[in-house]
């Protein structure tokens, strides 16, 4: 009982402490800092999304060059590039004229291009959706 009275006495003392008032400029200053933080966060998000795009473009380029090279390798097609320069242009012209695209290679190449285009469209769509969902905007 005595302990309870004691607890109440301490509690009573705390109850008598008035709630502190913030200075008039506090809220304005804090909101100004928060606006600055929001802008910084937005910039960070943008730079992160640019890095993300660069990564995917690089992946796309690698895929674009790598996949046909892999296919050529798998189909055991050898492209020999002559090391002596005087005949290079004429040889390239001749070889370009004599290129016969295998229907399988053509189909795979075309499919890769289609998939990359779809990939680009999906990424653009996701990026737009993310911006509208998470993007910070500042009301005037």
């Amino acid at each position: 009982m005595k302990q309870n009275e004691n607890k109440d006495r301490l509690k009573e003392l705390f109850r008598q402490i008035p709630q502190e008032e913030v200075t008039p400029s506090f809220e304005l200053n804090t909101m100004a800092r928060i606006q600055q933080e929001a802008i910084l966060m937005q910039k960070k998000k943008k730079s992160r999304s640019v890095l993300f795009q660069i990564f995917w473009i690089a992946t796309g380029i690698i895929a674009l060059l790598g996949i046909p090279a892999l296919i050529l390798g798998l189909l055991d097609i050898n492209i020999t590039v002559p090391s002596y320069s005087p005949y290079i242009i004429s040889l390239i012209t001749k070889s370009l004229q004599s290129i016969h695209i295998d229907p399988i290679t053509g189909t795979i190449g075309f499919s890769v291009l289609c998939l990359l285009s779809v990939n680009l469209l999906i990424r653009k769509f996701i990026h737009k959706k993310q911006q509208s969902q998470n993007g910070m905007y500042i009301e005037s």
Binding site: K2, Q3, R9, L10, L13, V22, R33, I34, A38
Partner: protein
């Protein structure tokens, strides 16, 4: 007017608005908690300017990490957890000095505050309490302020401080013991 508007919606409404990009909605959250946070922080640092700086830091952190609030606990508990950690780290960073009489705790008796305190006026009572609070470690001041000033229960304090409930109870007992003893000593002078 703002109070009336605020009463119509709860914290989660404003949190969702801030998350959706309406930064101005954060001012409603701030208006709701700033006085309570400042009242606790000012007891810890004993300086209104420092307390306002820390309170501002707390709200900036709350804003920045609002996306990580999953609603698993009360928003106030989550906010006071940030307030607790920020206050302690700011005290360490700014090297705000305090004096503690931790050493002689074992010698202190389990005494009550003398009845004479009832005869004192409010200002004197608050002065004694504030002087007694200055003898506590900042962490102890935060715990007792959360318990008495903000009416947080043992469970909430346990979540805020990341201490076990048993530990919070023990600490509260030790803090009360220290405060009672110090207030009695001050009154005897």
């Amino acid at each position: 007017m703002r109070q009336k508007v605020m009463a119509a919606f709860n914290d989660h409404y404003y949190i969702e608005r801030v998350r959706a990009g309406d930064i101005n909605a954060f001012s409603y959250i701030m208006s709701h908690y700033q006085r309570m946070v400042l009242t606790v922080v000012i007891r810890i640092v004993n300086n209104k300017e420092d307390a306002e700086d820390i309170t501002q830091e707390i709200f900036v952190k709350v804003f920045k990490s609002l996306d990580s609030f999953k609603g698993q606990s009360e928003f106030s508990t989550w906010l006071y957890r940030i307030a607790y950690n920020t206050t302690l780290s700011e005290i360490r960073r700014k090297q705000i000095s305090f004096t503690s009489f931790e050493d002689n705790l074992a010698l202190l008796k389990d005494e009550e505050i003398g009845e004479e305190i009832d005869d004192l006026d409010t200002e004197e009572k608050i002065r004694y309490l504030e002087e007694a609070l200055n003898c506590l470690h900042p962490e102890e001041k935060l715990i007792i302020s959360l318990f008495y000033l903000n009416d947080q229960g043992i469970e909430e304090i346990s979540k805020i401080t990341n201490l076990s409930k048993a530990n919070v109870k023990v600490r509260l007992h030790r803090i009360r013991k220290k405060l009672n003893s110090e207030i009695n000593q001050l009154m005897a002078k």
